[in-house]
Subunit: 190 residues, 2 copies
């Protein structure tokens, strides 16, 4: 496409250089859903973009590698969960924490201050019925045009998959816990 | 397991707290192979671990988001390729660059200075026959015990998959280029 195309020039649809925010979903039962999201965040941060993450399962008290890295980088990661505690009979605290996390995420999405927002393990509270998927899609539809949103977690709701631009499924082919009885390794897996 | 177990205490195999370096492969046709590797690198860096990457396709002249981020973080990323130039008839330069990249990677692997090393898009020069997969596996077998090595790229050689501890396949479910004609977005996809 020439630098200054004549006004009558209309590029064919497959050549438009459309720039807009994407909704990205990393789902599936394998590893790499969250790490790919954080890798993307790092890449965008490398380009000087404004990034943040809300984590829906991980607790603010735990110190995961990505939280330690984010702190060093000055990236805002909000952990709204209290860890995997779903064997507990009383899930009401988890539910209200998830809703609180979503309220914070919405604020960040609507603020117009970010280029990339990661909603880490966000599929779970949706699956559990704690957050309304229609509300999520409504919020994504009305978000700032250039904002990229990355959602991670297993079993992504079909409605959000339908709405998303880029959906990747991470599938486990071989896993050290199951196949060799090796425990999770610090730095690599958490 | 108690802190000072009696000498006769032998934990059952599935409870051993074995700590050792893993060989991780991110393969498949979907997105997220490299970004997950860089996310893992970030996580390990967050824990104060020593990390580096050798990129086998990307050119040192290009400025990818992850390269810009790594520069800011003081992480060593060596790009040994010259970009995707495989439509060219003369692949000898690509081949010698790949071999040079592998020589550097081997040095780093053997040095004992790193906790995590990413070999980004390393499957391609193996598939092309430019790097001997047996040599790769030999090097991985003899590497420092605690070193994690992460290999990314499509069509991972079955021999390296067999050797690896953790293998994940990233599969494309929905993609904005193909499905909607949207071009790659800076910061998110490169």
């Amino acid at each position: 496409m020439p630098k200054n195309p004549p006004e009558s020039f209309t590029p064919p649809p497959n050549l438009t250089r459309e720039r807009r925010g994407l909704t990205v979903i990393n789902t599936g039962n394998g590893k790499g859903k969250s790490t790919a999201a954080f890798g993307t965040m790092l890449r965008a941060w490398g380009r000087g973009m404004n990034v943040c993450a809300v984590q829906f399962i991980k607790s603010e008290k735990s110190m995961y590698g990505e939280q330690m890295a984010a702190e060093k980088l000055g990236i805002d990661i909000i952990a709204s969960g209290r860890g995997f505690t779903w064997t507990s009979k009383d899930l009401s605290e988890d539910e209200s924490r998830a809703q609180h996390g979503w309220a914070l995420a919405k604020e960040k999405i609507e603020s117009g201050e970010y280029d990339v927002i990661v909603l880490d393990e966000f599929t779970y509270p949706i699956t559990y019925g704690w957050i309304d998927v229609e509300d999520v899609i409504e919020c994504l539809k009305n978000r700032p045009e250039m904002l990229h949103v990355i959602v991670t977690g297993r079993d992504a709701d079909t409605k959000i998959v339908e709405y998303a631009d880029l959906v990747t499924e991470m599938n486990e082919i071989k896993h050290p816990y199951r196949d060799q009885g090796i425990p999770a390794q610090k730095g690599v897996e958490f």
